[in-house]
Assembly symmetry: D3
Homo-oligomer: 273 residues x 6
């Protein structure tokens, strides 16, 4: 099921806006809806969300026309299927570096409920899949979006082949992991890092793949990447936006009131997701 044309937007490279939601709270969805989001990013890799919470989140946001995009903990077909069963429209597999990984993700999302020996056969020989079954599976899985997390040097080096895998819809760049993998941990202003990101964005778009980068600090980064061609604007998270605003407001109030005692600042939250 395509929520509010999200799949269509991804396939046509239309600009879409979202944030990472880490909190399962009954008031959150209506509130995010007011900010005019196209999707929410739900990260089961790093955020300790339960399966039932994930299902509440997916169903709650879908009901409002906001597409739920779920990152699974590791590239695994069973996890991809569980995310869809919980209501995800898109699934992100983290740290993909090899073509087989992307192919597995695509098959897990777009050939459900086929599995096992037969799925392997169809994957090796797609032409052997009967047309009637092909039609059924396309309808059954319509709207599902397959997204690869590109966040390492090996993935960067192998990028053209990765993007060529049939069925891949979009790429999420993981800035923290990528910076560490490049030996430039958290140096998001380093020219090599900036070059790498720009390269991924360009290559994705020229291959007809939607692309975005999830980042939890300055919104102007999203502007810059958007100007470079990123059409998925994945800006920050509830936890980062709240804690950054709280810290800066409190600092301002204390300083205006002449109270200089506390100088706490939240960590860079980008490290979390």
């Amino acid at each position: 099921m395509d929520t509010n044309g999200f799949y269509h937007k991804i396939k046509t490279g239309t600009q879409v806006y979202g944030t990472c939601v880490t909190v399962c709270n009954p008031q959150w969805p209506a509130m995010l809806n007011k900010a005019g989001l196209d999707f929410v990013f739900l990260d089961t890799e790093h955020i300790p969300l339960d399966r039932s919470q994930l299902a509440y989140l997916c169903h709650g946001y879908r009901a409002l026309g906001i597409a739920p995009i779920v990152r699974i903990a590791t590239a695994d077909e069973t996890l991809a299927g569980q995310a869809v069963d919980a209501g995800a429209q898109g699934v992100i597999a983290p740290y993909l570096e090899k073509e087989e990984q992307i192919d597995s993700l695509v098959y897990a999302l777009k050939y459900r409920p086929l599995k096992g020996v037969l799925l392997e056969q169809y994957r090796m020989r797609p032409d052997t899949l009967p047309d009637s079954l092909k039609t059924y599976l396309a309808a059954y899985n319509s709207g599902n979006v397959a997204i690869a997390n590109i966040e390492s040097v090996p993935a960067l080096n192998n990028l053209e082949r990765l993007l060529a895998v049939k069925g891949l819809d979009a790429v999420f760049i993981g800035p923290h992991d990528l910076s560490v993998s490049m030996g430039l941990p958290e140096e998001y202003d380093h020219p090599d890092f900036e070059k790498a990101v720009a390269h991924i964005i360009r290559l994705c778009r020229s291959n007809g793949i939607s692309v975005g980068i999830h980042f939890s600090l300055e919104p102007d980064r999203q502007v810059k990447w958007g100007q470079q061609g990123a059409n998925i604007i994945m800006h920050s998270s509830d936890v980062a936006l709240f804690s950054q605003r709280l810290a800066s407001d409190m600092k301002h109030i204390r300083s205006m009131l002449g109270d200089t005692q506390h100088a706490g600042e939240p960590d860079s939250i980008s490290a979390i997701i």
Copy 2:
């Protein structure tokens, strides 16, 4: 039990800083701790928190030295006792207008576990309470903070008598309810509203009562009230800070990218709490 000297600060009129927390999330407390808060405001009047969630919140923040202040749903001795059992250090009763209401709150918080007929007797004739019992009850309830929500014209008119009730520790001004009660709904810049707030602050402080005002918009309001004498800085809430920051960041990004489609803005959140 006094968390991090909070009771002492309230009694001495020391500046304390807090925010309203509406989310029961395992990562929240450590994050707020970094912002250097003295207390959190947990509102069971308007926010649908379960009793077990309230207990997690109270114990979680206490463990970090942040005093949990709980607003009960209505002025009721049983609810006040349940808040303390859940781990609250302070209890706020909403919409207090009469001296008996404040007196009841004080007795519910500072004479536990006395109840019923005998408590009524001691309340009428405090001198009949045996010294040994007085000592026991003082130790048993040490650190408990009694806070009155002042948020209506009748309360305003009766303020001197309300502040004179023995045992009252602090006042929270409720701006939304007060503005409606004054016939100036949400007109927080109206001179009459500003005058009323300034009056409450002044009267509280001159009576040795700590005072603050919970407000969810501009931090500069807290600065102004702090300069007028409010020593409890109760700035905004997680839900307001997050949604305001998300909306403004998204607006900025969209506008910089030339995307003018969405103009959504979160409601004034002050209406909620």
Copy 3:
């Protein structure tokens, strides 16, 4: 906020359809949406729902355009306000027998956030409420539906006066309580019981009040009452529909397979709600 025109339908006596939902499950709302419901009835009087669950239910159904109608545990202004804060569009107070009870419910739902001394004054002297405040409160509470549970002989005897209370929008008849109050426990086919129900329906509609009856057995009862004029079709509950269908299917299968061992049948569920 009016969900999908529900308030308008209630005020115009349009037919609306709903069921009682007792289960807080992420998959339920989308499923009920397919059955084309206008509202769900959420009963916090008898069903042990937590406040956070109630908020999930209210927000989840609202997002799909299904109005959440919440029965509070007893006629109490604080509970009515908490239901609205949790996301309820309509509030049912149980076992109402007196005009003041209905008036209190109306004021609790339609004059928020006014409370206390001033609300009492405006309730006694509605003409003293300033026009600007009236307008604000009407907008602030727009869409809220006040529903009285009529389920006893004293209420029946006092019905005309109860229905005359300004602001009452609808009546829910409670068949189990009413039958017990009439000394005809669970005798839903007794002519006196049928006459009483028909009388309430007729009187409500002739006073411009929407009316329905929540009943958990045969759907043909709803047809009959609908033909008598009930425009709120409040048919059964998830727990009743499931258990009735399970029991009848299992009985059928066992009997067809020649297995006569088990003859269990679910209790009349009407007793529960």
Copy 4:
């Protein structure tokens, strides 16, 4: 419904054994079942249990033949009804001191679903209740146990009249509240306290009322009170038994290993419940 003959045992003064359960954990019930308990005491006055947790606890223990006895937060008919709806077999109202309070509890538990004006009439004039309705209500509420918490000097002074209220089944003595009310806080060995407890036990039993005392320290107290006539053995709680055993085992291990650093000891837990 009578769970495992619990109601019969209470009415005949048979010895019954139980503990206070504060934890809603899937493994607890089967474990307690092995200890051969007749009932569990679930305290919603002091323990922050949610309504859904209470329902899990009640249904879970009932399924194993262990009667769930629920203490409500305060003497209130709505709370008593909610406890029964959640699955409680017995309901304890705290701090009862007056005959009307006991009578209200009895009517709330044994005349459901009657309420309001008519219930008041039947309560004033029991002879006006029709026989057929009497029979229905007796069957509908069969097995429900009404228990009064006696825990203050005024209750002690009024005890004969309290025990004479028709329909009262049992008494729970609250040692902490009683000791405070007597001006002997936590002095459980004081001869006056011991005399008071012995007096309540004797008076209950001679009036055909079952009686017990919930206490969280030495099991030999239960032995002593059992020998004095208490037939309800309400020994300690999960939280007290665990923390006491952990503290004593840890102290033993540390001391045997020559590690004398830590001397922590859990508080008297009796204060909690």
Copy 5:
């Protein structure tokens, strides 16, 4: 531990009745108990149940003598062990096609807590397992039921060898997956599909293996398969029975009241499980 003789019934091919439960609700178990069920099917492959919910469900149904049968997400020894730790009596592994998969399931369920290198050795050379250990493990794991989901053409083709694996107790046929694998998606009336099911039933029973088919539409399918020899009657689910009954009742009421506006119908739910 054998719940209510369930293991014995499976080993002797006795008729057993069950349904799929997707809802963790305190009132469900007692309600299902009235329908006379032998087991419940809890599906962690497709239904987003948390581990703690699974444990509540397993313990709750066991307490009532209803055996909990858990489908794990994928054939994996760790998941099988976790299901047993959560209280499952039987474990179903989905989409089994190879003998090693069935053998692994059997060893995971019947040789606990052996694992690792030694378990591999005993699995290769069962005769090397010491008799005393054999006896201990048999007692330790007594009652555990190993169930294979047969739901693909490769499994069908390999069926005789699969059924010959020592320790396999029962087979669940997965109709949706099987129909897709056969290239006949959801064509449950297709003669080839019917033939395949009948073949599996016959082959299982002639090999002393209990067999059933989980299906969520007409109960007469279960009758037909029961007559063909299926002794496990796994009829529908709570979610399917409720939504089907709600949709048909609402359609009936609307049509009788002349309201033809809504024609919604729930999807085939068989697709879900």
Copy 6:
């Protein structure tokens, strides 16, 4: 982050005390804090804890200076990372028998967020890891404790090589699994079992590895093992301590009161964990 010097104590072989916590309850942490614990053992292998519960537990105990040590369900890098994301300070992988397993655990805990191809390269050729990255990863993962569960004969036979793996910090002995693997199920007094435990303790300590054994019966076992050199005192669990104390107290009370009916006793709980 090092909680209360726990990592330092583990590296220096200092005595540390802990228990296994199976219950996610808001009151537990403060209570355990009073018993002076250094760590809690949270077992996600056998105890059905949800991810969100695990995060509450980890953050709650950390806030009090008690280090949370989490056993993952099976040796798996993704699970190890999720435990750390949930707030674990130490991670125990169960049933380790091979050097690669220990090495994987170490890399999963101490080289985060590196993964995939590059991590494999650095693992094979540690000298190729740039110094700046090494420094970053050391700081990023500082305080993380890698613990191997040794609980089988193959592990015993391979122990010297296992302990030599660089980065391993501590060993937990699993008595139940070990006894079964040795063909001596639950024979904890068997001389061969005692010899094996003593051998592991000695070998660990002489290799600079901290060691403990989680056991749920007599505290004197911990004394004996402590005297043999075990510096991690992992004594019992909340569920075992509670049920043992409840059973013995109830037995005592019954016997003193001459009630000989019930002789239930909890199972050996050591089997559970």
